[in-house]
Symmetry: C2
Subunit: 321 residues, 2 copies
């Protein structure tokens, strides 16, 4: 949960004079998200999300993120649309933080995705990849394969405090992935963090995608692998083949996989499991004093990594081919 | 900020079947309030607040709180109206917690109240006192004068860690207040926690009162004293006589003070300053490990208490009489 920067009524009233969305009627901090401060804003013009970008977001990336949302929204993807100021700008400043207003999306995220939700997700992820293909900006994936070792170096000395032998296991996995990870798969803009809390549903129908603040350019199939990890495992650590089949085949129906993507899927799934293992490990070992966010369990992703190491082909995930 | 209990989409969908407000469209935890878990809920029927009552609220008090809001709302006070289930009940259960849905109020709370805000507050507080006069339930003020000494006993041993000499100063103040505190002033239902974050405004017009979870039966003028403390001091500790005058005279225009109330005001103001000093002192000394709430500074109320000790008459607060 997160509201790091408090917005005063006065700051906001001043900020809103730059927009054409009327007077403020209500402003509530939202207890979700860990990167930024988010407020639900009601004005005479409707409902919006006000986001203040905190220190984990590089201000230089904001034109990419906001431009991407606008690009996607105008191509029919249900995602927040940045609201422009009278002068056309999408980005301002409140309380010393970069700040933007985007449209509000109805829907709730599902705590326990069903098979139907996974199928909806597959179709939406493929549509997102296709809609982003002609976006004119690009952003390197700082958390791609080249970023994992430097990230690990920041936790290595204390990794074995979490599980004995963890440092050695990650070392071996890094060596394997750095050697074998594919670098020539079909690529474009990926979401890179499409966990269940970033996907909204109304009843069983997908109503929108949110939180594009990890979006970057990388292999489409890597985005698929991230979703396999975050949607198709049960809380007991078991892989749900029915969910995997629903997700992968719905994706492939809209954007067919190349042979190289199919062959790479187990390795991509290992890589994405390692990426979340490493960031969670770092957060676990570095909880700031007075933190208002509980770190997520890194071991969930260690178990997933071990699962993927034993997978031979994409067929084992449920892909029909 | 506070969402202590996470509500799943499944729990809520089940809960909503008991109401006539349509399907859920959105649910966001609100990062405000410290007692309960609050969610902003959108359904086909509109906007609502869903509250899960956490352990600091006695479930036996809930019929008083919910009944009071209904009583006030039907008498024209802008406050949340509990939504009734199909069977007429106002209280249900989610995730093992008592839970209720109330209507959503537009408005924002003001971080720095102006003179105009204080005048609006005075009129609204008097209207609230008059509207509550014929409410048929009652609730003892557990944090009234008789509750202060037991509360202090829980912090006394460590009080001097906060300020040297604090325990002795509180002891002397308790002795004075227990001896002199008036017990026969005009009484009825009071809000007892009408701080700026519980009062909404749209522009400079008061749009509603919220958070009735400290409401109880006590002297009306004690409620006035609580507002004097929480609205009419500046952040540097100085008393703003212009705000005090605006607040007190707007109140008196709608509900004139008796002579006894006027005479008692400095003592009531001392008492209410001590009450908030004591609860803040306890919270300050007892921050639970992993707390997601930062305790408020008890010394703010020590300074206010010292101010009131030096006040001779209600005229010094700005009351015209």
């Amino acid at each position: 949960m997160a509201v790091y920067t408090e917005v005063t009524d006065e700051d906001l009233a001043e900020f809103l004079t730059r927009y054409d969305i009327g007077h403020m009627l209500s402003l509530k901090g939202i207890a979700e998200g860990v990167e930024n401060s988010n407020y639900l804003l009601r004005t005479q013009g409707g409902e919006f999300i006000l986001t203040l970008y905190e220190k984990r977001v590089d201000p230089n990336d904001l034109p990419f993120f906001l431009g991407l949302m606008e690009h996607l929204a105008t191509r029919g993807i249900n995602c927040p649309l940045p609201v422009k100021m009278r002068d056309g700008a999408m980005l301002g400043e409140i309380a010393g933080r970069p700040a933007a207003i985007v449209t509000f999306l109805d829907g709730v995220w599902v705590r326990r995705p069903t098979v139907r939700h996974c199928a909806e997700l597959g179709a939406a992820l493929a549509a997102f990849h296709k809609a982003g293909a002609d976006f004119h900006l690009s952003r390197t994936n700082a958390l791609g394969v080249g970023g994992w070792r430097p990230l690990f170096e920041r936790s290595r000395a204390r990794a074995d405090e979490v599980v004995p032998g963890l440092a050695g296991e990650i070392d071996a996995e890094l060596a394997r992935l750095e050697r074998d990870f594919p670098c020539d798969l079909p690529s474009g803009v990926i979401h890179a963090d499409l966990f269940p809390d970033n996907v909204f549903f109304i009843d069983e129908n997908l109503s929108g995608l949110i939180d594009f603040y990890f979006a970057c350019n990388d292999a489409y199939a890597y985005d698929v692998a991230i979703c396999l990890n975050s949607w198709c495992f049960e809380t007991d650590g078991s892989y749900n083949l029915t969910k995997g089949r629903a997700f992968l085949n719905a994706y492939a129906a809209a954007r067919p996989f190349s042979d190289a993507e199919v062959a790479a899927l187990p390795l991509l799934a290992s890589g994405s499991a390692l990426r979340f293992l490493l960031t969670r490990l770092y957060d676990w070992l570095n909880v700031p004093p007075g933190a208002m966010v509980r770190p997520k369990d890194p071991l969930e992703y260690l178990r997933k990594l071990r699962f993927h190491r034993a997978v031979a082909t994409a067929r084992d995930y449920g892909l029909d081919r």
